[in-house]
Structure formats: C-alpha cells, structure tokens
Amino acid sequence: MNSLITLPLLIPFFTAIILVFFAKNIPVQRWISTIGSISTIIAAVFLAITVYTDGIQTMNLGNWEAPFGITLVSDMTSILLVLTTSLIAFVCLLYSFRSIGKEREEFYYYPSFFFLVLGVNGAFTTGDIFNLFVFFEVMLMASYVLLVLGGTKIQLRETIKYLLVNIISSGLFVMGVAYLYSVVGTLNMAHISLRLHEMGQSGIVTVIAVLFLIVFGIKGALFPLYFWLPGAYYAPPAPVMAMFGALLTKVGIYSIARTYTLFFTQDVGYTHGLLEILAIFTIILGAIGAIAYSDVKKIIIYNIIVAVGVILFGVATFTPESLTGSVFYLIHDMIIKAALFLLIGIIIKVAGTSNLKEMGGLIHRYPGLGWTFFIAALALSGIPPLSGFMGKILIVRAGIDAGNYWGSGIVLLSSLFVLFSVMKIFINGFWGEAREYKQQEKVPVKWLLTAPVILTICAVLYGLGTEALYPIISTAAETLSNPEIYINAVLKE
C-alpha cells in the first residue's frame, strides 16, 4: 500500500487537531498524545520495512502524474530520519509528562508538539521544493510557539531574535524557489534534477546553489550563519530544547544533503568546495564554543554546531562512502543530542543551576544519572563500541581517500575537543565533594531518567548493531550518491 507514506504525516496531524479540543483536560491529553506518538512509530517501522524490501516508495497526491502534482517520496534516507524523529518525539513526550508543568500543558503544549513532528516528518518525506518550504513553515511556526510558551523574559527576548532570523531565511527560501522556477519551470524535485542535468553547467545554477546553501545554512546553523542558535536554544525548557537540538537543525542539514546530491551536481568543484570550507569552519567554531563555556546548556548547544560541521563535511566530500558516513552520523547525532539535552535537563533540575562551577559530587546521590551521562558522553565523541564511531570513521576515511588531509584531521581533532567538553561536565559535575544544593531532599529522578535511558540504550544498540545496519544505511547513501535512482522512482519512465 503506497498510502502508507502519508501515515507518519497524518497521524501527528490528526493527533494535534484532536488535542486542541481537550486543552484543559491534562490526563486525556497525555493519553491521546502517547497513543498518537506510538502509532507514528509503528507506521514508520512498517514504512521502513516496505522501503527496505520494495525500494523507494512514491505517492502522487490526488492521482496527478508526477511532475504536475505533489509527490511524496520515501527513500531509505528519509524513512530512517522519519523513524528517528518519531522515536525522539515519543521519548521527549515521556519526559514532558513529568517536567513541563501544568500551566504549559494547559496552553496547547501537546498540539504544538505534534505540529512540530508533522513539520519535521513532512520535510523529510516531501518530493516538491515548494512543499518543502510549507513543511518548513509548519515546523518553524510550531517551534516559535514552543519556544515562547510560558512567556518568561528570556524566552520572549530570544523568540524575537529567532523569529526575525527565520523570517529572513524563509524569505530567502522563497527567493531561491522563484529563481529556480524561472530557470527550470518546475517544482518537483526529481523533475528539477532532470532539467538541471539536461541544461548542463551554467552560472545561474551555481548562484542558486549558493543561495540554497545560505537558506539551509541558516536553518541548520552552518558557520557564518549559526549566530542565532546559542541564544535561542538556551531559552526553552529541557524537552523542547531536546526536540529543537535533535530535529530542527537536522532538517536543514537533510535539505542541504538532498539539494546538493540531487540538484546541484554540475559544478561540484565550486559548490561542494565551498560547503567543505564552511563545514570545517563550523567544526572549529563549534569546538571553540564547546570548550569555552562552563555552562552545561551552552556546552551541549555548541556540540550541535560541531556535529553539523562533521555531517556536512561528509556531504561535501561527495563519495558513496562519505555519504554513508554522513547518514550514519546524522542518525546517531539526532539520538544522542536528544539524550544529552534531556540528561542536562535533569542535572539542572537536581543541581538548581546550569553553572558547572556551582556543581559537584552528583554521583554520590544520583549514580544512575551519572553513568548514563558518562555513556552518552562517550557515544557523542565516538568511542568505538558506541554509536558515534562508524559514521565518523567513514567520513574521515573518505576525506583522506579524496586527498583532504587537513579537513579529515580537523574532524578527528574535533572529537577530542567534544570529548573534553562533555567530560568537563562529568568531572566537574559528578566527581568531587558533594555540594550543598538548594533542595536538601533528594529529587526523585527515576521517572525523568527513563527517557534519556531509552535513548542511550538506542545509541548503544546502534553502535553494537553497526554490522546489521550497514547494508540499510549504504542503500540510503546509494540513493543520495546516484540521483538516477530517485528520478526513475518518481517519474517512472
């Protein structure tokens, strides 16, 4: 059944709509959102199995033939990302039940949450460039609301900045679509790719490629365009922060990966060369930020920027091996960033501060929290049996094979700084003498801890099961490195 593709979009959509009617009834909201979230995961798993056995799934909405209507396309990359998104959404939801607080829950927190999931899943699944813009806006609109919900001063201030930056980048996105439409005269991604390949190399296409890089670079926090991210991600509460950190920037990265593997493959020397330079600078700047701060939130926020750089370095190298590495690392990073944000949410709750200098000795009282954080930190930096290893090794090896020793060296070195930055949290926060905290009572963290523990277990299994996952993920990368597969699946000639 091809209409299976729509389920990861329709389930969050209808869940959100139903939730609007039960705004004041919190238990009902929680039940409905749990059911909605679990059924999204189940639908995504079924779709993943279908894509694995039968190849790329496409669906023309309203039975209009491919270039004329909107096509939804689910290849291996997009379904893996949809599956990861649904899983992270479920875990963040579990965490929200315990931590978000009644006053936020009563004011449409869960509907906004599901609209965010809808936007992200839609952006991963769509096969139409303007539809991608619309799903971006669905996602961003939900993220504005989640960011400002609660209305504290810091949230209001940062929402203004986040809104302004995203309005500008959305304006640029529409500009990019307008230019692209005037060049190729179509909006379907496969058809655009076909037309661009027929046209061959021309200057205007390169200009549009760079414009798209700017647009998605703002969404995905690439080097000169990441300035908005540290402030905006600092403001919201922990589960919202985890959703943002795990999903929003990754949609930008996915869009860069999609457009740079499908559309702009004519003048690779310039466009991918530019992407490579920006990716390396992103890694360097992120690493500097990660070691500079002694605030736990800031450290993890700058680690997002490092990971963005690493993934895009793999995309810029543009060989099948490096793309496999990028997809590996992208999924790993979504899982582990969500886990880390939820963990530091708990740390801040028990310590009553986010400043590392005022913490210490948490492991005496909270051993479970401490060791989960330790494993998550090792997984983040890519210690071999855990999840971050395989992606990075593939990216580095492909970089060296392509003769880019400097870039690969910086990717390797960045692991060291990432490890240093998270170990700084572990050593200063968990070791040492137990400090006096505001709450003398032991804060009950068992329930809150289940959410990050689930994600950490996923990360460990993802690392241990590399052998089993490798064929799946190399299929995903094969579609990326070979646009013909995608075009033939959509246009069915």
Partner: protein, 113 residues
C-alpha cells in the same frame, strides 16, 4: 516590464534590509513586511509577465497567464500573514514584560531573568 519590476523589488529589498537593521522593534517588523512583499513580487515576476487572460477557463482566451506562481504566492502570503501576526503579538508581550522596544537593550547575558 520584468526589468522595471526587478528594480522595484531591489528597492523594496533595500528598504527592508535597512529597516531590519534598525534599533526599534516596530521598524524591524515593518521591514519583515516589506521583505515578504518583495519576495512575493519576485515570485510573480520570475514566473514571467507575459500578456494573457486571467487564469479562468471561462475567459476562453488564446493564452493564459501562468497560474502556478499565483498559487505559490497565495500560499506564501497567508504564511507570512500568520507569522507577522505572531511576531506582532510577541513584540507587544515583550514590550509589556521588558518595558522596551529597543533591540540594543534586549541583549541580555546568559540566561539572566
């Protein structure tokens, strides 16, 4: 005609950029409004400004104008409208809570409340 429109859109973008770089929050919002006007006009222009009937089949014309950019603009207009409404409300709340519309004063250090 396209040339003239391009100049016009360029001027709109120029004014929008200038306004968005100013200190007052309301000027910034006016700037975003101008930006979306410019972007929508650009979509219309880039679709081509050839002569033709309005895209209504009842007109029975030889040639029609391109209906696709018009649909895109309509979508983009309502999205921009929704976001501008939210932006205005957030700006109003911010003025009430922080007591200022000056972006210079809205800097704030790490998580100060």
């Amino acid at each position: 005609m396209e040339i003239l429109m391009s100049f016009l859109i360029g001027i709109i973008f120029m004014s929008a950029t200038y306004l968005m770089l100013s200190k007052s929050l309301l000027r910034i919002i006016v700037g975003t409004g101008l930006l979306s006007h410019g972007v929508h006009l650009l979509l219309l222009t880039m679709g081509g400004l050839k002569k033709g009937a309005a895209p209504l089949l009842g007109q029975h014309a030889e040639a029609y104008t391109d209906p696709l950019p018009q649909a895109l603009i309509l979508t983009a207009i309502v999205i921009a409208f929704g976001i501008t409404a939210l932006f205005l409300v957030v700006a109003y709340r911010t003025y009430q809570e922080l007591g200022s519309d000056n972006m210079e004063l809205m800097r704030g250090k790490e998580g100060n409340e």
